[in-house]
Amino acid sequence: MSLLSIKDLSVEYHTDAGVFRAVDQLSFSLEPGRSLGLVGESGCGKTTAMLALMRLLPDAGRIVDGEVLFDGVDLLQLSPAEMRTYRWGKISMVFQGAMNALNPVRTVGSQIGEALKLHKTVPRNEVSDEIDRLLEIVGVTAESKKQYPHQYSGGMRQRAMIAMALACRSQVIIADEPTTALDVMVQAQILDLLQQLQAELNLAVILVTHDLGVVAEVCDDVLVMYGGRMAEYADSDAVFNQPVHPYTRRLLAAFPNINDPRSELASIPGHPPPLNDLPPGCRFEPRCGVGGEKCARENPEIIEVAPGHYCRCLIARAEER
């Protein structure tokens, strides 16, 4: 059994403007020591899916279907109190933009200590030493724990967030765009740190990003999302070398090729579908360009094009046959 397995997770936002199906029948699984890259355009449901599995959706968000199994326990069936021990105790999160995720009026150390005290990870009198240890693991000097977030650099803040995510010995870490708003050098350092920690602590990591370069560098598996749905799901090798879904192909084509700097960058014309007014057939059909008329009518099912390589596309099925 996998450490974490998500089955048919669907999330809707019920607002005055209507019902938005932000995540539709998303499934994936995660083993210890492996990392999954969750890729897609802005607004395709990546963050919503992650918040849903942590059960941290805003009031308007509702999980309408699915299971989130952690070691066989369905997190969606737990009482709020039980869920609180799983959150951060088993699954923790590195948030998008560390500046906003740290309380500006409290020291960084006290905010890391908050997690330690709440989950009673270490005895109360050892909390201070544990904060020092955690900060040193992520490469921040222990003296900086008495400083406030605004005294930290962007990279240090993100390191502190990682230290916080490690605090309660979680087995799964969700990193929601951990490197956005960081410069390239710091980005590389943070990714190295994540990779190194993953190997040392045998962590399972979900990396949410729209940066394919980051995914290629760090992740074992890749899940490409489009319009709230899985488009393609396989190990990195397969996705980058034998992409099946037209969306993945065009996404990769839109990525600059370092070996051929003069080749033209291909963008994908059009916009992702509005989530309250989805097309009846395949969600990518309006922008696809290679699909037939069947694609506009028929909703594609998930198919396994190769062992462990899943895809939601009618053309892919035709090719396979």
């Binding site: 941290l56 009031d59 959150r87 999160m93 948030f95 906003n100 009026v105 908050e114 709440l118």
Partner: protein, 314 residues
């Protein structure tokens, strides 16, 4: 926080009005604390008054004259400082307490809790406060504790609304979500993560509440519902009116308590204004705009319409 505090003081020192208000406030607090040392006479001591002492005008022995039973008016005003400040601070403490709790709960939890609490707040907000205070004091009795409670329990509405609106914005910040993810309870999030962000606003609005409470106490006392056992500015004014200070032209009996009230209210208002200007970004004009330019812009926008209306009227 140290840096925030430091920058606060730096901005505060630039606001001359605020510094003056603070100085005036410190002065009046010193007067209240040191009243027995400063006051030339003890107003609670019985006086062997002769006919010459009744409403006597200012003299070297009595700088601000004497009242209808021969007491020293200056001493009355100095001792009155104590009651005014005690009522002011105690009542605004109640205001802060109730206003904060209601504002924090309503803003944080939202939904029906918010609706219920805000309708109650609105209900109290629309009742004219002074008549209600008069009725309650008349029924409950004229003690200083009653006065403090009544003022406190009837004036927390603005505080609650201000705190709520700030909470609505703070609770959407990501560190609140992070705290929830870590497993911090609702209580912990409110106390450790939201309250510190709202505190400056509470401080700014509390300074105005203090002067409101002092004025409310003076109004009650002036209308004859103050604590009869204590000397306050309101009760001094009340007696001055009742015992013919006006008809006898005894201005020295009327003016000093009135001026003292104005002094305290003004100092709090100036202080509060300066603090709010620093804290509330909306009162601060955008750095690209010159204040004078803003004014001239406003004229350009509004003037023609007013002129048009006036012409149409005619």
């Amino acid at each position: 926080m140290d840096e925030t505090k430091e920058s606060f003081w730096r901005s505060f020192r630039e606001k001359k009005v605020g510094v003056l208000g603070l100085a005036m406030l410190v002065f009046i607090i010193l007067v209240a604390v040191l009243a027995p040392l400063i006051a030339p006479y003890d107003p609670n001591e019985s006086v062997d008054a002769t006919a010459a002492d009744v409403l006597a005008p200012p003299s070297p022995e009595h700088i601000l004259g004497q009242d209808e039973v021969g007491r020293d008016v200056l001493s009355l005003v100095i001792y009155g400082t104590r009651i005014s400040l005690v009522v002011g601070f105690a009542a605004s403490f109640i205001v802060i307490l109730i206003g904060c709790v209601i504002g924090l709960i309503a803003g944080y939890f939202g939904g029906w809790v918010d609706t219920l609490l805000m309708r109650i707040t609105d209900g109290i907000l629309v009742i004219p406060a002074l008549p209600l205070m008069l009725v309650i004091i008349a029924v409950a009795g004229r003690g200083i504790i009653n006065i403090i409670l009544v003022i406190g329990f009837l004036s927390w509405t603005y505080m609650a609304r201000t705190v709520r609106s700030q909470v609505l914005s703070v609770k959407e910040r990501q560190f609140v979500l992070r705290a929830r993810a870590i497993g911090v309870s609702h209580f912990g999030i409110i106390v450790y993560h939201i309250l510190p962000q709202v505190l400056p606003l509470i401080f700014a609005s509390a300074t105005l509440d203090v002067s409101y409470a002092i004025l409310a106490e003076a109004s009650l006392s002036f209308l004859g519902l103050g604590d009869p056992t204590m000397v306050s500015w309101g009760s001094t004014l009340n007696r001055a009116f009742m015992r013919g200070a006006v008809t006898n032209g005894a201005w020295w009996y009327l003016v000093p308590p009135g001026l003292a009230l104005a002094w305290v209210t003004l100092s709090f208002a100036m202080l509060s204004n300066a603090v709010q200007e620093i804290i509330n970004p909306r009162l601060r004009t955008h750095h690209l705009f010159d204040e004078r330019k803003m004014v001239s812009l406003m004229h350009r926008i509004t003037a023609p319409k007013i002129v048009d209306d006036a012409i149409n009227e005619i």
